[in-house]
Symmetry: C2
């Protein structure tokens, strides 16, 4: 059985691309994957051979591509990391969506289970807790909406 933990970054990208195409269509074609990643079809063929050997995709030359159960599991793990990073960038750091997405796409391959776990947890808490008021503003940067005395951050008025 293939060790999903040792996938190269490139193979992770292909897996995720196949996953995303599968979300929209029944199965992925070489062209779909190439378009998704901005590479040419011959590059995809080479990658599919590798992923097929690792038993992460169902594939034969000239045929369509689907994820195997192991491939789906690996792809979902990558997607979860991507989502956690993107959410953190957008919801906490206030980064513009498209920038957050390309950044998350870069980092998703490098985040460990532990940090991923804590990031998820943190973003959830940050979003849910009604008492926390650290928020981002385009002009000011981070601000605190409490507006209390003896807090230099609170001297900045909440623009909301």
């Amino acid at each position: 059985m293939a060790d999903v933990a040792h996938l190269t970054e490139s193979m992770e990208m292909y897996l995720k691309a196949i996953y995303l195409v599968e979300q929209r269509k029944r199965a992925a074609r070489v062209t779909d994957i190439a378009h998704e990643l901005g590479v040419i079809p011959s590059s995809v063929s080479a990658a599919l051979r590798t992923l097929s050997k690792l038993e992460l995709i169902n594939y034969a030359p000239y045929d369509i591509v689907t994820l195997t159960p192991q491939g789906l599991e690996a792809a979902e793990q990558i997607m979860q990391k991507y989502d956690a990073l993107r959410d953190f960038f957008v919801k906490v750091l206030g980064v513009e969506k498209s920038i957050a997405e390309s950044e998350a796409c870069q980092m998703e391959h490098r985040i460990s289970e532990e940090v991923f776990d804590r990031l998820l947890n943190f973003v959830h808490y940050y979003e849910e807790c009604p008492y926390e008021r650290i928020r981002w503003d385009e002009k000011i940067g981070y601000f605190c909406s409490r507006n209390e005395a003896n807090c230099r951050h609170c001297t900045i008025r909440d623009p909301a």
Copy 2:
């Protein structure tokens, strides 16, 4: 002039290693750099040739290595990103130091100026603001120390 913005990840790693050795010693030797990065000396020789061509280091075969002003600037930029990520992992996510460091080392090459900037800003605010009480606990996860009613997070007692 070399475009520091387009350095490969590998070259960034070598630059940072040279920077770190320079912090401890006057200049770096091939062996020092190899030891710092866990690669063999021949790999270092090859990298030094490249960095030298890019005018990021002062170097001639068999000689010691120092950063040029441009090299220092590039190394400092990388270090700043590393520090911001490590601080976020440790101070905000409560990740153990050695894990935070290896994770930051992986991601430092992939973080944009914008996200880096906001991360710095966020960690600073998070540390400084006396009213914010989102903190990490090993057993509980994130908790809120306010312990107010009608907040389900606050039903978890602050262990501090």
